[in-house]
């Protein structure tokens, strides 16, 4: 096993023990990135010099006998919508092409304090809007398992970077599935924590009532370690929760006897590709064999989650993205340099935003406008309540809910770009989880024609511990997580 194949936990142990140095680990990662990234396009930005300097500092800490953090010397990558002071951050948008953040996101502070070494920023759909990573101003990311396939989105670069052994840990954001779906398409673990579990300070906002940051990893254990580091209250994010953070990795004991796993049979009976269905059914059988009890549940309003999501998320986006106006940061159109100001705004925004971002700003503006607010936006917020109540009712009799993550295996690049609505329909199993604010984790559960398939476990609010314990037990019983993409 080479350095880049190791988990974050093993790498940190070896660095702490002195059997390898943080600089060696960092160099191995940078070498791996330069060999595979030209084919993948997973990174928008790599900062090897900064990373090597940080790694050298970890080695000095160790040599001096100082206490090392839980990710000391572990190379990580961040989706390019999280601010790192002094490191270009674009959200894969032309409108932020030259943006250099003047401050660090809270997750960046926490990860660097834990000793993690940031090697670069990963490609994504522009402003995290998309399900295939094809909405990036810097070109699509290619799936490491098949370069003609999409890695999923919007955090496609982070998922591909972990699957391709560039880094053992990467971070993304999930507003409607943007961590879980690319994790499924790339065959890695992807965790969306409970809304409010992780501070959003320094995350470029898309839909503020839905956005949440979480980790990608090759094992559930690494995702659990990462969550314990990034979770917790932050005075800079008033929506971050004060609920206690636990050692999530400590609870991974492999024992799921008696755990009640809810399966929404009616909801998952329609529109699911047979390859996904076969893998999902096998995953449920594995959980039952490990001692879990399968329970049929109903989520009668989950089928409305896509329209609810696309009305609410776009409404919030239209407001959040009003800040990109060519004044304070980012791109300004040269077309209206003599004014008037309004023309400068509208030309800047038309030239700076890509098509999908414009579509969503338009849709959100429409549903918030006079005459349509009650019929669309308010109605969507009411149905959101019903979606939440369905889950509350289900969790009265089960401990976790299991569903496919995506109704289809990874599709070909270019296959769905002409029809935005068809692309949205692929989010059927992920968006309800964001609407209800619940935690969800994708776990690899199959390979079909050389492409990964995953399923997700959804938990009660702030009960990441249980979904991670069940996911870990599944991982112990299967070897999907050890499969590697045929890149070399």
């Amino acid at each position: 096993m080479t350095l880049v194949d190791r988990t974050a936990r093993d790498l940190r142990q070896d660095i702490a023990a002195g059997s390898i140095s943080a600089v060696e680990a960092c160099r191995a990662t940078l070498d791996r990135m330069s060999s595979v990234n030209p084919a993948l396009n997973a990174f928008n930005h790599v900062d090897g010099e900064r990373a090597l300097a940080r790694a050298a500092a970890i080695d000095r800490q160790r040599a001096a006998g100082e206490r090392l953090g839980p990710l000391a010397g572990v190379p990580i990558a961040l989706k390019d919508n999280m601010c790192v002071r002094g490191m270009r951050t674009t959200a894969s948008s032309k409108i932020l092409d030259s943006f250099i953040p003047p401050y660090d996101a809270t997750v960046v502070n926490r990860l660097e304090s834990a000793g993690a070494v940031i090697v670069g920023k990963t490609n994504c759909d522009e402003f995290a809007m998309g399900s295939s990573n094809e909405n990036s101003a810097y070109g699509p990311v290619h799936n490491p398992w098949n370069l003609d396939a999409t890695p999923g989105g919007s955090s496609g670069g982070s998922a591909a970077a972990v699957a391709a052994r560039c880094v053992p840990l990467a971070f993304g954001s999930d507003t409607g599935g943007s961590i879980r779906q690319p994790a499924s398409f790339c065959g890695v673990v992807g965790l969306k924590p409970t809304y409010g579990r992780v501070s959003r300070y320094g995350l470029l906002a898309f839909a503020s009532s839905l956005d949440q940051i979480g980790p990608f990893a090759r094992t559930v254990g690494d995702a659990a370690i990462a969550l314990s580091i990034i979770a917790g209250h932050d005075p800079n994010d008033a929506t971050s929760a004060t609920t206690d953070v636990i050692d999530y990795a400590a609870g991974l004991n492999g024992d799921i006897r008696g755990v009640r796993v809810g399966v929404p049979r009616a909801f998952v009976s329609e529109g699911v590709d047979h390859r996904v269905r076969t893998a999902f059914d096998a995953a449920l059988a594995t959980l039952r064999d490990r001692g879990a009890t399968l329970v049929d549940i109903e989520l009668p309003h989950a089928k409305f989650a896509i329209p609810v999501y696309y009305l609410i998320a776009t409404a919030e986006a239209s407001s959040n993205l009003a800040r990109y106006d060519g004044v304070k940061y980012g791109y300004r159109s040269p077309a209206a340099k003599d004014g008037p100001l309004k023309t400068m705004y509208s030309r800047t925004r038309d030239e700076g935003f890509g098509a999908e971002v414009k579509r969503r700003i338009m849709l959100g503006t429409y549903v918030l406008s006079a005459g349509y607010y009650d019929a669309f936006y308010l109605k969507a917020q009411q149905v959101r309540t019903l979606v939440r109540r369905d889950y509350e009712q289900a969790f009265a009799s089960v401990d976790v809910v299991a569903m496919p993550t995506s109704p289809v295996p990874p599709f070909k690049l270019g296959e769905k770009t002409a029809d935005p609505l068809q692309m949205y329909l692929g989010d059927v199993f992920t968006v309800s989880v964001n609407l209800a604010g619940l935690p969800g984790v994708n776990i690899p559960c199959g390979l079909s024609e050389g492409l990964p398939i995953g399923f997700q476990l959804i938990g009660r609010m702030f009960d990441e511990a249980t979904i991670l314990r069940v996911a870990d037990a599944f991982e112990r019983a299967t070897d999907w997580h050890t499969a590697t993409p045929p890149l070399d």
């Binding site: 943006f99 003047p102 929760a241 004044v327 509208s346 038309d350 406008s369 917020q381």
Partner: protein, 98 residues
């Protein structure tokens, strides 16, 4: 069925400060109409007496002491501006009145 017109799209674009090109207008009219027609299915859901969810954790208001804290230095705040008057600490914009 939604009957979105190009004029509607132009009105929305003006509200959103987006100056769409002539190619974008018919395309967005068709695509947004598709999406809105799909969203019409929500009208069939009975929401009588159902409160709206704006935020899943809205019940837990966050308060903190009103104490002054350091803010971003002016030079840092201006550093990314496409056009700034750094000496006077101002963002510069084109004339406002057309």
């Amino acid at each position: 069925m939604s009957s979105l017109t190009i004029a509607d799209v132009e009105r929305i674009a003006a509200l959103a400060h987006l100056e769409l090109t002539d190619d974008e207008k018919p395309l967005f009219t068709r695509q947004l109409a598709d999406i809105l027609n799909y969203a019409e299915q929500l009208q069939a859901v009975d929401t009588t007496g159902v409160p709206a969810t704006a935020h899943v954790t809205a019940a837990t208001g966050a308060e903190r002491p009103d104490e002054p804290r350091p803010s971003l230095p002016v030079a840092d705040a201006l550093a990314n501006a496409p056009d700034a008057a750094h000496d006077s600490g101002l963002f510069r914009v084109p004339r406002v009145i057309g």
